[in-house]
């Protein structure tokens, strides 16, 4: 599998279809590695310990200035690439995916191809069972207990924004928390700011999150961020049949509507 991946990457560099390959390094923690020479492709690996969503790098101006690039992409990252395409963040044909899954290399795809691959091979990616159990467990608690739970968790947040940096969906050049006239989200790492920040971070991903888990993995304080993402993912799927990352022309869930949308909760 590694062999196939490395060869494909080297080929892309040779043929100048990519000037840079963003992959996972053959090092503890599997950090990102940036390969620009075919002969260096031996440094690329992929296995289950790869936690980063490398699509997040496409938000970096330095890397946007170095297109075309290829990205080593397990299914969740493929979805991110499709979402970024749908949101006009990736110039057509400028980003290729080196699609991988577990111990298989699946080939080189552009956004459209990636979407096709996802629809055929991974038609219903969603939260893992364990994650849904975390959601279910929390949902069982009373409102007061849930509030207390999150008050305690959010109290740990230092506002380092590692979650934001890890997320390909967080590509805004000015994040809402950086807007100070008016300052809707307090930048102090205190109760109110931490609540608003973490809730809005999750909400801004609704209908866009590909459940890659990079935010939670990146959080130095171990906040259960994926629980928030998962509940939104399930709701968007149930209510709007939203499957982010399957259609490069897809309309945003927040930003489109249907007359049939539920409003049973409206009085």
């Amino acid at each position: 599998m590694m062999k196939a991946l490395r060869e494909a990457a080297a080929k892309l560099l040779q043929e100048k279809r990519a000037v840079l390959v963003i992959g996972y390094a053959d090092r503890k923690g599997r950090p990102a590695v940036f390969v620009s020479k075919p002969e260096d492709c031996g440094r690329l690996v992929y296995d289950s310990s790869c936690r980063q969503n490398l699509a997040a790098y496409l938000g970096k101006p330095e890397l946007r200035a170095r297109l075309p690039v290829a990205v080593v992409a397990p299914p969740a990252v493929l979805r991110s690439l499709v979402v970024l395409t749908a949101e006009s963040q990736i110039p057509a044909g400028q980003v290729l995916a080196l699609a991988v899954d577990h111990d298989a290399f699946l080939g080189v795809f552009d956004a459209a191809g990636a979407a096709e691959l996802l629809r055929s091979k991974f038609p219903d990616l969603g939260p893992e069972k364990a994650l849904l159990e975390r959601v279910a467990e929390l949902s069982k608690k009373s409102a007061a207990e849930r509030a207390a739970f999150w008050a305690e968790e959010f109290a740990k947040c230092t506002r380092c924004y590692a979650c934001r940096a890890a997320c390909p969906g967080c590509y805004c050049s000015r994040c809402i928390v950086e807007k100070n006239a008016p300052q809707w989200v307090s930048t102090a790492a205190l109760g109110h700011g931490n609540y608003t920040w973490n809730v809005m971070r999750a909400f801004h991903q609704s209908g866009r999150c590909t459940l890659c888990g990079a935010c939670e993995a990146a959080c130095p304080q171990g906040l259960p961020l994926m629980v928030l993402n998962a509940v939104l993912d399930r709701e968007a799927l149930a209510e709007f049949d939203a499957r982010p990352g399957y259609d490069p022309e897809g309309k945003p869930v927040i930003g489109s509507w249907s007359a049939e949308d539920d409003h049973s909760y409206m009085r």
Partner: protein
């Protein structure tokens, strides 16, 4: 000699809180070891380096530094500020945390003596625990530190009898005040963790001073995603941002941690940013720690605790950067 059985540390903590101290100690919270206020029943987690450092105790991540009462008319009057500097013992800090204190003292007493920092500093006793093992991110020995370093600490707990006991060494008056709570006894100190020097920090400093424009930076910072995890975990990083928050009744001026890794950090109102990309920011981080700061305060702004690398999602490791810089210097 003063000793304590390692499994009796909670009793020491209990004794300290009985004596009126707020005890801060490393506690495992769902897999994350964090320095936090110790309460009866909590076990101390001594194996891992905590995600936060003693810095949190002296320089909280968000702190109200001024209050103004707002009048109906829109006028305002300064309101009294209750400064909280409780008598505190940080139990089982790391020598690399303690070592950071001289650097923090320097900056918080440089031209302006920072009231709230100094108040807390005065009220805090740091009892560090010598490391009996080091991980791949540790590099204190490369920045003039040691696994059993005493710099900045009021007392040191040195593992003994194969880790069963701890020898209590008072290093200051504050430390000596605690001696009474530790019983006499004999023990054979263990050898501290062995950690070989990874780079010559002086050489790194020299290269930095003259390679501001080196192409090295462009590629060295490619992986950095620009979050603040490293700066916030760092026992020395001390940059902050002042923010005013107000409601109908009151305006509060808050001092919040900030990080040179953020794009906004140096963004001018004009829209110009002298550190336009992540490589410029990473260069700043490294240069500040190993060149600028030492020139100003005669001490590195890094103690080799390795937290930044341990917590970085993108595998940015300042020690590795220094190793490569040293190589470039040769």
């Amino acid at each position: 000699m003063k000793t304590i059985a390692i499994d009796r540390l909670p009793d020491l903590a209990q004794a300290l809180s009985k004596a009126g101290y707020r005890v801060v100690a490393p506690v495992d919270e769902g897999g994350v070891v964090r320095l936090r206020e110790w309460t009866k029943g909590l076990a101390l987690a001594l194996d891992a380096v905590p995600v936060n450092s003693v810095k949190d105790v002296l320089f909280p991540r968000s702190e109200v530094v001024a209050r103004f009462a707002l009048e109906e008319s829109g006028g305002f009057t300064p309101a009294p500020l209750e400064r909280s500097a409780p008598k505190t013992v940080v139990l089982c800090a790391r020598p690399c945390d303690a070592a950071a204190l001289s650097a923090l003292d320097a900056v918080f007493n440089w031209d302006y003596r920072d009231g709230s920092y100094n108040a807390r500093r005065a009220a805090t006793t740091v009892v560090s625990l010598a490391c009996f093992k080091a991980d791949e991110h540790c590099f204190c020995t490369s920045v003039n530190g040691a696994p059993d370093g005493t710099a900045g600490a009021d007392a040191l707990l040195r593992p003994a009898d194969g880790g069963k006991k701890l020898v209590f060494e008072a290093l200051s008056d504050k430390g000596r005040q605690l001696e009474a709570m530790v019983s006499d006894g004999q023990a054979v100190p263990d050898a501290p963790a062995a950690l070989k020097r990874r780079f010559d920090s002086a050489a790194v400093g020299r290269w930095l001073a003259s390679n501001f424009e080196s192409p090295f930076w462009k590629e060295a910072a490619l992986a950095c995603l620009g979050c603040g995890a490293c700066a916030y975990a760092c026992p020395v990083c001390h940059c902050f941002d002042l923010q005013d928050e107000s409601d109908k009744k009151e305006c509060r001026r808050l001092r919040n941690w900030d990080s040179c890794g953020f794009g906004l950090f140096t963004l001018h109102a004009s829209g110009h940013n002298p550190r336009p990309d992540q490589s410029a920011r990473w260069r700043q981080r490294v240069t500040h720690k190993f060149s600028i700061y030492p020139q100003k305060f005669k001490t590195f702004a890094c103690t080799g605790c390795g937290r930044c690398a341990r917590l970085c999602q993108a595998g940015m490791a300042i020690a590795e950067t220094c190793e490569r810089i040293e190589a470039l210097g040769r």
